[in-house]
């Protein structure tokens, strides 16, 4: 019967109830988005880093992978030495560069990744196969479209333009053997992958056997941080970055995001709290007569409080449920906008639904609604019956 009373009381003032629920929904959506934002980018970055199973990345000392054009000499020797360290399961060398092809008189430039197909961790084959021979490459859909090429075509590709010789460098025919999805490239980025030896030769860096970075996969059960320290100790000219240390750096760079998210999240909670307090206070004041009569005919104070609290919980629950959907929709919409952020991998999501965090935040909001209802409902149910009845009768 209490449930019925609470429900009917809410439906009696439909417009007001709907507006309050809408307000709670907006607060819940904002809170959810802020929670998704505060942890989303970090979690998205983490899943991006671990997706290929490599836990350690080696870059030239003092740099981050592909942050600069710096590279490491003696890549082949580095790979061999790394592979010999106990606990190392696989090593994937990567050389970054550019590759140019001509299509209908225009140069089409793509980001080129030289690697070893068997151990690469930069792309997934979507069609065709990985490049195995020295004259093979795979390209992203954007590259293939811009180059007007399809899988199976041969393109004349160069690694650069030499202004002194006024000619291209490393020009050679390459067969497109596949279409690939590149994991770490920004949206719309044209990208190709080819054997590292081919790219080294095209760039003229074969003599020094340069690599931009090397990725290391640890054996299962191996302490990654321990392995990272061992690698860095063994190779003082490189910086070894584990997924955890990379995430720490991401945390530092995203601290402003998180602070902003925290502040806005707290604001959402406070708004939800005040909204429900106002709503319940207005409702209690309107129904003081009913409330004291319930008390007068012998309904226990706690029962009256519970009935009013049920209303605030219903408001919060329905509003929060609607806010969940609204928050996911707005998060997805904002993700769409932010995915074009320059220099960020297209796979990075700013708003990621982390169930535990989201349920905690939304639970907090419902809890705040419950708290918000306690004071006005208790105050209403504790009014002196005789005096209130007299005031109501006037």
């Amino acid at each position: 019967m209490l449930l019925r009373l609470a429900w009917t009381s809410l439906t009696l003032h439909r417009s007001r109830t709907l507006l309050a629920m809408l307000g709670v929904a907006v607060a819940a959506a904002m809170l959810l988005d802020m929670v998704m934002l505060s942890s989303g980018m970090r979690e998205s970055f983490r899943s991006l880093l671990v997706t290929t199973g490599y836990q350690i990345r080696l870059a030239p000392r003092g740099t981050l992978p592909f942050d600069t054009d710096a590279s490491i000499e003696g890549g082949g020797g580095l790979v061999d030495s790394l592979s010999a360290i106990p606990g190392v399961a696989a090593v994937s060398p990567v050389l970054g560069g550019q590759l140019h092809v001509t299509h209908e008189g225009h140069a089409v430039t793509a980001f080129a990744l030289g690697g070893v197909a068997a151990v690469q961790g930069d792309y997934d084959i979507v069609a065709g196969r990985a490049p195995a021979a020295v004259n093979e490459l795979v390209g992203s859909a954007d590259f293939l479209a811009a180059a007007g090429a399809r899988v199976g075509d041969t393109v004349m590709a160069s690694a650069g333009f030499d202004p002194e010789l006024r000619g291209t460098t490393g020009l050679r025919p390459l067969v497109i053997v596949g279409r690939a999805h590149f994991i770490y490239t920004p949206a719309g980025q044209r990208a190709v992958a080819l054997p590292i030896a081919t790219l080294q030769r095209m760039e003229g860096s074969a003599a020094t056997d340069r690599v931009s970075l090397a990725m290391v996969r640890a054996d299962s059960g191996v302490d990654v941080e321990h392995l990272r320290a061992a690698v860095e100790h063994e190779f003082p000219r490189v910086s070894a970055i584990s997924t955890e240390t990379a995430l720490q750096q991401v945390d530092q760079r995203l601290s402003y995001f998180r602070q902003l998210a925290l502040i806005l999240g707290v604001v959402s909670l406070v708004v939800g709290f005040l909204l429900v307090t106002t709503m319940v206070t207005v409702s209690v004041n309107e129904r003081l007569g009913e409330i004291v009569v319930m008390r007068a005919i012998g309904v226990a104070r706690m029962r009256v409080v519970s009935q009013i609290l049920l209303e605030s919980v219903a408001l919060m629950s329905v509003g929060t449920a609607a806010g969940l959907g609204l928050g996911l929709l707005t998060g997805e919409y904002l993700n769409g906008i932010l995915s074009g952020f320059p220099g960020l991998p297209a796979e990075i999501r700013f708003f990621v639904f982390a169930p535990h965090d989201a349920w905690t935040a939304l639970g907090l909001l419902v809890g705040a609604g419950l708290l918000a209802g306690i004071y006005p409902s208790w105050r209403g149910a504790s009014r002196p019956i005789a005096i209130t009845l007299r005031e109501e009768a006037i």
Binding site: R4, L5, A300, R301, L389, E392
Partner: protein
């Protein structure tokens, strides 16, 4: 009757004053009121507005407490009860009927009658059957599923009486039960209350309505917080 069966209601030298807002002096609503009423009595408390009759009714029902003196209902000291005890007392021992009906607008007539029984923990089937029987008793069996807004003032007051009788109270307290009704409907209400009393319920009613007062078997007249007249039981 009070003498024959022992007093159900004993009010002994009760005073009650209300603090007004600001620096205004307190207003003495009751100044040493004493009376007794027996089981089965039908008593009307009459007097001009502000004479303290509603205050007295509130003290009898345990929704207010006297400053001095004592109120005993059925041997229980109402004035010394905790809030929880007073709530339970009102639920099981006293039925209230208010001038403005005060039904729960969210509930149907039957559910309004069921409310005190649900609070008392009576089983659903039992309280449904009793609510139906009580609505039949007050002549509203056909209106059980109507909301208060779909009922006339007289019908709402009948539902309020059925609600007041739900837990078989030893005492029915009515504060101006005909105050919001037209003369014809008021007469029906007077007849209904008389029937309730004839069927064994003790009634104390506060009223300005002379017809209602005459229908009661005893009248207590109040003025300025004091009892100034008591007819005793007519025909006793």
């Amino acid at each position: 009757m009070a003498g024959a069966q022992g007093p159900l209601v004993v009010v002994n030298d009760v005073t009650r004053a209300y603090a007004m807002s600001g620096d205004a002096p307190t207003v003495a609503a009751l100044r040493g009121v004493s009376f007794r009423a027996g089981k089965g009595e039908y008593l009307a408390i009459v007097g001009p507005s502000g004479c303290g009759k509603s205050t007295l009714l509130n003290l009898l029902g345990g929704i207010d407490t006297p400053d001095t003196g004592s109120v005993t209902i059925g041997g229980v000291h109402v004035d010394g009860m905790s809030d929880r005890e007073a709530t339970r007392f009102r639920l099981l021992r006293v039925g209230f009927v208010f001038q403005r009906f005060y039904l729960m607008p969210a509930l149907t007539a039957a559910e309004n009658v069921e409310l005190p029984m649900a609070e008392a923990g009576r089983p659903k089937t039992e309280r449904r059957a009793r609510a139906r029987a009580l609505l039949d008793y007050v002549g509203l069996g056909a209106r059980a599923s109507h909301r208060p807004t779909q009922l006339s003032g007289g019908e709402q007051q009948r539902v309020a009486i059925a609600r007041a009788l739900a837990n078989e109270p030893m005492l029915l307290l009515a504060d101006e039960p005909t105050g919001e009704l037209d003369a014809g409907t008021g007469a029906e209400m007077i007849e209904l209350l008389a029937r309730v009393n004839r069927d064994g319920t003790t009634i104390i009613v506060v009223t300005h309505d002379e017809d209602l007062a005459r229908a009661a078997r005893r009248e207590i007249h109040m003025r300025d917080g004091r009892i100034v007249g008591d007819t005793g039981e007519r025909g006793a």
